[in-house]
């Protein structure tokens, strides 16, 4: 997470931290399948430590509806038996939870050193131009969201892009246009995936 969302030098700005509550959203309850998954996962922890399952519970909710609304967080709070404030505290810390709608494919471009040395900045630039969006935005079709992330732990395959839970490795800036077209046409099948995974 970042404590410094986008601040100019002018110190007056520092005092005006706007706190916006996430979208309340409609009614939310787990599907029967997700409920069963949660009930199984919570068994991994001692009975008085249900809170340990909170990240898992949030992932389930996020996968079910694409992003986390306040209703979803309230549901998770009920499952964990903690307060909604506890849930919001966790959600707002970790970068992999979304509190706003995102595209079908979230393009997480790694921008840290090793990837940057091999052109990650140009990958972001190329995606941005191709889709006509800035970092943090979703394109008009609702298919792609562009995000910059920090080191993904695969620096030997730079530049790396994580797309939802899948990976695209060694994406040269020149290949970005073609890559986006492939994803549009073929969906998940377009990703090269983690090379270690594929070698099997």
């Amino acid at each position: 997470m970042s404590f410094h969302p986008k601040m100019e030098y002018a110190p007056a700005r520092f005092h005006k931290s706007a706190r916006t509550l996430p979208d309340p959203g409609g009614d939310f309850t787990y599907t029967a399948e997700n409920q069963a998954k949660f009930d199984a996962n919570v068994q991994r922890y001692p009975p008085d430590q249900r809170k340990s399952a909170i990240l898992y519970a949030l992932y389930l909710a996020q996968r079910q509806q694409g992003f986390l609304t306040r209703a979803a967080m309230a549901h998770v709070a009920g499952q964990i038996r903690c307060t909604t404030a506890d849930v919001e505290d966790v959600v707002s810390y970790y970068t992999m939870f979304y509190t706003k709608p995102v595209g079908t494919y979230v393009l997480n471009v790694c921008r840290t050193l090793s990837c940057a040395l091999l052109g990650a900045e140009r990958v972001t630039e190329a995606i941005s131009e191709k889709l006509g969006i800035k970092v943090g935005e979703t394109d008009a079709s609702g298919m792609f969201t562009l995000i910059e992330v920090e080191c993904l732990g695969a620096c030997d395959r730079a530049p790396v892009v994580m797309v939802n839970d899948d990976w695209e490795e060694r994406l040269a800036p020149e290949q970005v246009g073609e890559f986006i077209d492939h994803v549009r046409a073929k969906g998940r099948a377009a990703f090269t995936g983690c090379h270690l995974h594929k070698e099997k």
């Binding site: 986008k6 990240l55 970790y94 090793s114 040395l117 140009r122 080191c151 730079a158 270690l196």
Partner: protein, 438 residues
């Protein structure tokens, strides 16, 4: 001396990750069988004798860490395997978990037996979902084969191994922050003492160990501490994985002993194979982004914890980031400070605010608006972070600035003098996005 890999020997084999392959070709779970016939304390003694040092960054002796784990207590004990692997330039645990998962599973089981724990949690970073799927499937197989679960191999010892998925936070790699995150809270470190060995996960005695560290445990039990120690220089024994990335021909994970010099790792034919396009070498970060840079003249240093420390840097997580002469020192510091500013957990002021100010100053220099006083300011802010924070993150964050300013002060001065970046690299964007708005 030719080095025979032991951790990653079969990583390229197609089915090298399966239980059958592991049992057939790597004497799989023999170490566990042997361990269960010993007293737990004997295993700790063996690990101590081997001199195994933690592979997560600090290089702390593992046997000693285990010995500190409180014994006389009615509370349960825990092993937490640190698979957060978020240090920029590091990707070794990724390979081990995906291509040799049973070595880690066996390591977890033996370590649990040694410290008297019954549960090991593998805390894996959220981005490694594809790794987690492999790991969980293989853990399932280990349960079915009787290597995990109740009464393992008829010894009466019970052990569970669970994978816990993080959700995107570098700081979750710090051991007490990892514990907090496992407990379902924000990944922010605790004040020490008490150390995890006394009050860790759920306030119970806990040992936090890196993936590579735990993978070495079955090898020590199987082949003996003397064998392990003999693989490397004194106090730096055992196999070591080196992650090489950046401007080299063949980036990747290479296993060798800590006798190998940095020069061999970067230029050796069996390793990274030299610089891309034969461009001149400029600098190397030998241990993940948190350690000082080394130059050409330091390359003949053996890549061991102690030798690299003597050369003025640290082996850290053994993530070697190699840079050629197209890299601007100010840009380098700015790139890394963007990382630290984003990842600071926010618990202490010098780190939370200091990283932001450092980044802003570097951005100002890099975009040409730097002023002469900025250099002193950078130095002042950095030295006011070092040693004044709760966890080692603060020192790590100041390091790229202090190290580049020491080695390449001329470049900083040139930025101020010329009012622009003096080394605009071809791999940079025309209009880079800086300070992302997330």
């Amino acid at each position: 001396m030719a080095y025979e890999p032991v951790l990653t020997k079969h990583c390229a084999a197609r089915d090298g990750y399966t239980l059958d392959f592991y049992v057939k070709n790597q004497r799989g779970y023999e170490g566990l069988r042997k361990a269960l016939a010993l007293q737990p304390n004997d295993i700790i003694e063996q690990v101590k004798a081997s001199g195994l040092r933690g592979r997560g960054g600090a290089g702390f002796p593992t046997g000693m860490k285990w010995q500190f784990v409180l014994k006389d207590t009615p509370k349960p004990k825990y092993i937490c395997c640190n698979a957060d692997e978020s240090e920029p330039g590091t990707f070794k645990d990724h390979v081990l978990m995906e291509r040799n998962p049973h070595l880690l599973i066996e390591g977890c089981a033996i370590s649990c037996y040694a410290i008297g724990a019954k549960v090991a949690y593998i805390y894996i970073r959220g981005e490694f979902y594809h790794v987690q799927e492999v790991l969980e499937a293989e853990i399932e197989k280990a349960y079915k084969a009787g290597f995990l679960g109740r009464n393992i191999l008829g010894s009466g010892f019970d052990c569970d191994v669970f994978v816990h998925r993080g959700a995107g936070a570098y700081e979750a790699g710090e051991e007490t922050a990892l514990i907090e995150s496992l407990e379902g809270k924000r990944a922010q470190p605790r004040i020490k003492p008490p150390f995890p060995a006394v009050a860790g996960l759920y306030q119970c005695p806990t040992a936090v160990n890196n993936v590579e560290t735990l993978c070495n445990v079955p090898l020590i039990v199987l082949n003996g501490p003397e064998w392990f120690a003999s693989l490397g220089p004194e106090k730096n024994g055992g196999p070591k994985l080196f992650c090489i990335s950046g401007h080299v021909k063949r980036p990747g994970v290479y296993e060798t002993s800590m006798h190998t010099t940095l020069r061999e790792l970067v230029f050796g034919e069996q390793f990274a194979g030299g610089m891309i396009d034969e461009r001149p070498f400029k600098a190397i970060i030998p241990g993940g982004s948190s350690v000082p840079l080394l130059l050409e003249q330091d390359l003949d240093t053996p890549a061991s914890f102690d030798h690299i420390q003597k050369a003025g840097s640290l082996l850290g997580s053994a993530g070697l980031i190699v840079m050629n002469d197209s890299v601007c020192a100010v840009w380098l510091a700015m790139n890394l400070l963007h990382f630290y500013r984003h990842e600071s957990c926010g618990k202490c002021t010098p780190c939370r605010e200091g990283t932001d100010w450092l980044f802003k100053l570097l951005l100002r220099l890099e975009s040409g608006d730097g002023q002469p006083k900025d250099l002193d300011l950078l130095f002042g802010v950095s030295t006011n972070i070092v040693g004044k924070t709760l966890c080692a993150f603060g020192d790590a964050a100041a390091t790229p600035v202090l190290s580049t300013m020491k080695l390449f002060r001329g470049e900083y001065e040139a930025h101020v003098r010329e009012g622009r970046c003096t080394l605009p690299a071809p791999w940079r964007a025309a209009h880079p996005v800086v300070a992302a708005h997330q």
